[in-house]
């Protein structure tokens, strides 16, 4: 009979990983499970077993697990006599194990749980006085010990089972008979933990107190050791399983702990204490990621869930994700964990808002955090009005920023694009807090006192209008002019042909002219009525489409001259038609043709200058012609030196540049495939080779230029929009700086904002906004009434923690689960039973910069 082999080296207790309970030294304890000295013996029938303390401070107990075996355990220091009566011999006892003096009332259960970094399996010895009244080995969750004691006890020893190392463990005295909320925890225990006996989920994180305290197991799944992985019933926890789509490479694609998980966890940990409302009073949500890689404490680890998901037959990550969610995500983890499917592909990131599923590139911290944020019910706006890239919403969910979630520090000072006090900046006394606006992607001028030049005019004024969520960086998706878009996501305005439409004004009517099935159609509107709180939904009272009875062969140009809206458009035979709209009456002008003009080979540009129309357009050979109309058309004048790319065309805008009050007529066209800006000088048209401050872009249709005149608080500016030359034709836009150069490039809306035709633009003096008409991705007619981003809506900063407080629960249980706390009043995006899948473009998101 020999002592059991010595277990592996003891595991130390890391107090920073242990749960915080309300009552230290109460019914919940972190203990160090130390091994007693054990002997196992076979006891034949009627055999006499001698087990006695021989010397020292040894305490010795004997258990009989069955009729034929005995187990002796001892702790303290000294020796014990053990063996068959008459043949017993002395054994040394040298154990640091020491029972914990703690009262256990009759009928209470002694529970244990595996601690973070702790030992398992566990065994438990309950003593009353010097009598051993009960023992258990590993009958709890995941190898924890538990013991229901009818007799009560006053000392407990929690020890590692044979072979397990010494180390920390969690011990609870559970007055189970007093469990008021049915979470498996008695009221007295809950009082000591700091949880509520009337709430299943005291910290409102969507996971009940019982599993967070003890772990759980739903067979046949393996046990889920939530406490060992860092769960606390008094602090909000966020459990995530990460799986990976096999990329066929030599390394398994684990989610990078130091590079991705750790910074994300740190950001979650900093959520405001007052808003996140943890029962333990601490800030933050604790992120725990089962990444398949050990060594991350309670932030990440190999907890049995990581799976390599095979590529699907269609090679679509969405298919593999769906397969993984069904087959590689344990059923018992649903409603407890979030499922994050990672892949080694470009792009392809989304998260349900709210929900428990995410797909994200494996190597993007930014997307990892963003998509989990969506799961917790955060939008790109945080909450409130659905506006992305708000400059005062300085949080990670905002496409413009990477970093912490917003703490709402600017919430008390909303920004309204049409009334901005630049001298107040972000409305906080600490000027340094506005400094971030000087960097990417906005590049605002920020004065030392925190004033912000919102309208980029080089001045700091007290009442200006500005497109404040416009990123001056090509590649950012800022979804930033979405306000009352008619036709958005609906068939309200019907379809249109892939031909440039035109906008104009006919007195009180805003007019859109567009082509459908080759016919010129006209719609008008006079007001926005019965508008939805959903700010992206349009509410223009657009008339039904009426046909002008003209077969259209190219893009449409329109401009107001006098009391009429003049329209020039190529017919299908290439001849240019000339019409006018006045008082709602569309009629031909003169013969109805631009007389004497060669057939058009591209879209025409039309402007009004000094009481006359100016028409500029290319013929079929790309030769530009200029004509004038003031009652009749001048003969066409060929413009030398500029060859227009076939199938493109021209647009015109008249405006001023800088402090020079002399109007300048500028044209946007395409030459050699490149967007080309022309300027009309007294000597004729000339190219502006330095019109762009960055690279000269390409397009394959006529670019559209427009001019918005200056007004008090609004600098004059040219706008340029055109579609890309790739397969999807993403829309780009540029704005000019004070020198009239196109220095502020951006995506028009976002990466999906593809268009089959260039837009029609109008600076509308009624309201003073730039309006835009363009085909949507499904060929629908879209009207963006505030294409310059200047609309009367307050943009708020939001404390993300206030959203996450409810979103954490909703992500696991759904928007309408009554056990989840209600969302804060500003929030209006959660409702119904179908979560929204928010698709992101992770390659446009900035990434963090871990220290080297």
């Amino acid at each position: 009979m020999l002592p059991a082999p010595a277990p592996e080296a003891a595991r130390s207790t890391d107090p920073t990983l242990m749960p915080r309970w309300r009552v230290p030294g109460g019914r919940a304890r972190v203990v160090t499970a130390r091994a007693p000295t054990r002997w196992e013996a076979e006891v034949p029938d009627r055999a006499c077993l001698d087990a006695r303390v021989l010397s020292g401070s040894v305490e010795l107990h004997t258990l009989y697990p069955d009729a034929h075996h005995a187990t002796m355990v001892a702790w303290g220091h000294g020796s014990a006599l053990i063996g068959e009566c008459g043949q017993a011999r002395s054994y040394p006892v040298d154990s640091a194990a020491e029972p914990l003096a703690i009262a256990v009332a009759p009928g209470e259960r002694i529970d244990s749980a595996i601690a973070p970094g702790g030992t398992a399996p566990l065994e438990l010895y309950a003593l009353r006085g010097t009598t051993l009244v009960g023992a258990d080995r590993a009958s709890g969750i995941g190898g924890a010990a538990r013991l229901l004691l009818p007799t009560g006890a006053d000392r407990i020893l929690l020890a590692p089972a044979p072979g397990a190392p010494e180390g920390p463990a969690l011990l609870y005295i559970n007055d189970l008979a007093n469990d008021g909320d049915g979470d498996g925890l008695g009221a007295a225990l809950e009082a000591d933990l700091g949880t509520s006996d009337s709430l299943l989920d005291s910290d409102e994180d969507g996971i009940d107190d019982g599993p967070e305290t003890m772990g759980y197991q739903l067979l046949p799944d393996p046990p889920q050791l939530l406490p060992a992985w860092g769960a606390s019933p008094t602090h909000k926890d966020l459990f995530v399983e990460v799986d990976w789509e096999d990329d066929g490479g030599p390394a398994i694609g684990f989610c990078d702990g130091p590079g991705i998980i750790a910074p994300t966890a740190e950001r979650f940990s900093r959520l405001r204490a007052d808003s996140i409302a943890n029962p333990d009073g601490q800030p933050g949500v604790a992120l725990h990621v089962d990444s398949g890689v050990p060594g991350g404490g309670t932030t990440w680890g190999d907890w049995g869930g990581f799976s390599i998901v095979p590529r699907s037959a269609d090679d679509a990550p969405e298919t593999a994700q769906a397969w993984g969610y069904r087959n590689a995500f344990l059923p018992s983890r649903h409603r407890v964990f979030h499922y994050v499917f990672t892949h080694n592909r470009l792009g392809a990131a989304w998260g349900y808002q709210p929900g428990d599923q995410v797909m994200t590139p494996r190597l993007s911290q930014s997307a990892f955090q963003e998509e989990i944020g969506h799961n917790l019910n955060l939008g790109h706006n945080g909450a409130g009005r659905n506006i992305n890239c708000k400059p005062n919403y300085h949080g990670h969910m905002n496409y413009a920023f990477n970093g912490d979630f917003s703490d709402g520090r600017f919430a008390a000072y909303p920004l309204n694009p049409i009334h901005l006090d630049e001298t107040r900046g972000l409305g906080v006394p600490d000027a340094a807090q506005a400094a971030y606006l000087a960097g990417a992607p906005f590049y605002y001028t920020v004065r030392a006192d925190g004033a912000v030049d919102w309208n980029r005019d080089g001045r700091f004024d007290t009442d200006v209008r500005a497109w404040i969520n416009y990123p001056a960086y090509y590649g950012f998706s800022c979804e930033n002019a979405r306000y009352r878009i008619d036709g958005w996501g609906t068939s309200v305005l019907g379809l249109m042909d892939p031909v440039r439409p035109a906008l104009g004004r006919d007195g009180p009517r805003l007019v859109v002219l567009y082509a459908l099935r080759g016919q010129l159609l006209v719609r008008t509107m006079t007001d926005w009525v019965n508008c939805s709180p959903d700010i992206t939904r349009g509410c223009g009272n657009w008339s039904p489409a009426t046909s002008a009875g003209l077969a259209v062969g190219g893009g449409i140009a329109a401009v107001t001259l006098g009391a009429e809206l003049h329209v020039v458009v190529p017919r299908q035979d290439g001849m240019l038609a000339h019409l006018a709209l006045a008082g709602g009456d569309l009629h031909t002008v003169g013969s109805g043709l631009v007389e004497g003009a060669p057939a058009a080979g591209g879209d025409p540009g039309l402007a009004a200058q000094e009481g006359a129309l100016v028409l500029l357009y290319p013929d079929l050979a790309g030769q530009l012609y200029e004509l004038h109309w003031s009652g009749s058309w001048s003969p066409p004048a060929a413009v030398p030196g500029i060859a227009v790319t076939p199938s493109t065309g021209v647009s015109l805008a008249l405006g001023t540049i800088g402090n020079d009050a002399t109007p300048v007529l500028r044209a946007a066209t395409v030459s050699g495939g490149r967007v080309t800006i022309l300027r009309r000088d007294p000597g004729g048209w000339r190219s502006e080779p330095d019109a762009f401050t960055t690279e000269t872009p390409d397009t394959d249709r006529a670019p559209t230029i427009a001019y918005a005149p200056g007004a008090p608080g609004t600098p004059a500016r040219f706008y340029l929009m055109f579609r890309g030359v790739g397969a999807t034709h993403v829309m780009r836009m540029d704005m000019t700086d004070r020198d009239g150069r196109f220095a502020l490039p951006a995506l028009q809306d976002n990466i999906w904002s593809a268009a089959s035709a260039p837009p029609g633009l109008l600076y509308d003096p009624v309201g003073g906004n730039l309006r835009m008409a363009r085909p949507g991705i499904n060929q629908e007619l879209l009207i963006w009434p505030y294409a310059d981003g200047m609309f009367d809506v307050e943009m708020h900063d939001v404390d993300d923690a206030a959203i996450i407080r409810s979103g954490l629960c909703m992500g696991l249980k759904g928007c309408d689960d009554p056990t989840c706390p209600p969302p804060p009043p500003l929030f209006n995006a959660c409702g119904g039973t179908t979560p929204t899948q928010v698709v992101d473009w992770p390659l446009g998101l900035p990434e963090p910069d871990p220290p080297l």
Binding site: I252, P441, G475, D698, H729, G844, P846, L852
Partner: protein, 417 residues
């Protein structure tokens, strides 16, 4: 530098200007391509210092763009040492000495660029985009042309260099483009192709067909030369100096050697591991980065004999191989990740570790490094590009189409000793 750029621009002048655009839904234009002269080779930069024999993987520099990250970037090195890498929608050119930004250029309509640029003999930088387009940039960042290819849905490959042009794949389709960016051929396979292409010196293009576990060989005439079923989905391809095609099969662990001319399987071995793309050393040894059997966080490098794929040696490493091997004059450079830290390693004879230097915050991302003439190994590290000092340069005798490409400029073709 300026004179070199001017010289390069001079030789490139014949190819400037956009090619005929091909509408994605209209099929290639019927008009025959214009005559296209091959670009002249660039002058050797020649100004870079030699590697420091005492270098042990120290960080030389790191480049961090204020907006975009380099999560997938596999850089390429130009003739003058300039480091080219893509991040999201932009191509970056970095100075080899200090990583300073020389220029950056966006894609035409904000479409992501494929992570592996290619530098051709003239110094032009070729990079594909997710819209199945091929871009050519001059060494000064000027976009020379953009060739929009017709159709092809699925993952777009990096381009490979061919005699007088390039090839790239998308889904089940492979495209051939001449040196001036003109489309010259398309091959439509009956099933999806996967992984990056490999190309032999004479222009045969090899691709994997994962559904059937096959390898296909395509001629310069855009026709199928052979198709061989090896039974497992190909993950990586390399072409040896003798024209043999070495195939690895990712998680299936098979390494096979095919006859380049006929596709016949000459050797086939299963390894008890996940295996990366093969890398060919100067003596023909095939190096395969792999996992350790039973240790998902352990790495192993296999060295296999080229003829029968028998094992010459293997080296077990205390981390997954997350920076794929590159054969240098000083040994094999690679990177590992233990799950908590990434390190750059240099392996000597028989796989002996000559140094292992932690690179804090590097987080290698599964690509292969490019190597400069000064011994710097360039790679992406999540949000950054980093340069790590090594004592060797790319072994010029080593034909090593590596994970996604071939030589230091990612030309993805066999370079004969």
């Amino acid at each position: 530098m300026g004179a070199l750029v001017a010289a390069l621009l001079g030789v490139l002048a014949g190819c400037e200007g956009p090619p005929e655009q091909v509408a994605p839904d209209a099929g290639p234009a019927d008009a025959p391509p214009r005559p296209c002269n091959p670009p002249a080779p660039a002058l050797d930069g020649g100004a870079m210092g030699a590697p420091d024999p005492a270098a042990r993987g120290e960080l030389a520099w790191a480049y961090r763009d204020p907006v975009l990250a380099f999560p997938f970037a596999q850089p390429a090195v130009g003739p003058d040492g300039t480091v080219y890498a893509t991040a999201s929608i932009r191509l970056f050119a970095l100075a080899p000495a200090d990583g300073s930004l020389l220029w950056q250029a966006p894609s035409a309509e904000a479409e992501p660029l494929i992570a592996t640029p290619l530098v051709d003999e003239s110094g032009r930088i070729l990079v594909a985009s997710t819209q199945v387009a091929l871009y050519a940039f001059a060494p000064d960042g000027k976009q020379l042309w953009r060739s929009q290819l017709a159709g092809g849905t699925g993952t777009v490959t990096a381009p490979v260099r061919l005699p007088h042009g390039f090839a790239l794949g998308a889904g089940a389709r492979v495209f051939w483009i001449d040196d001036c960016g003109q489309w010259i051929g398309t091959y439509d396979h009956s099933a999806r192709l996967s992984g990056d292409l490999a190309a032999a010196a004479e222009g045969t293009v090899y691709a994997g067909e994962p559904g059937a576990g096959a390898v296909v060989a395509l001629g310069l005439d855009a026709k199928l030369r052979w198709r061989t079923v090896i039974g497992q989905a190909p993950g990586g391809l390399a072409v040896g100096p003798d024209g043999a095609v070495i195939v690895t099969t990712g998680s299936a662990g098979v390494v096979a050697r095919l006859d380049g001319a006929s596709g016949a399987v000459r050797a086939r071995v299963p390894l008890p591991a996940r295996v990366g793309a093969p890398v060919l050393a100067a003596d023909g040894t095939i190096l395969v980065a792999a996992t350790q059997n039973g240790a998902p966080l352990g790495g192993r490098v296999y060295a296999l004999a080229p003829a029968d794929l028998s094992e010459r040696w293997h080296a077990d490493l205390p981390g997954q191989i997350t920076l794929l091997p590159a054969v240098t004059t000083a040994g094999v450079v690679l990177g590992i990740s233990s799950g908590a830290q990434s390190s750059l390693l240099l392996l000597g004879d028989g796989g002996a570790v000559r140094f292992s230097t932690p690179c804090n915050g590097c987080s290698f991302v599964g690509t292969a490094p490019a190597l400069g003439a000064d011994g710097n190994a360039y790679t992406s590290a999540l949000s950054r590009m980093v340069a790590l000092r090594t004592p060797g340069v790319l072994d010029p005798r080593s034909a090593w189409p590596r994970a996604r490409s071939a030589d230091d400029a990612n030309r993805a073709r066999s370079l004969l000793p």
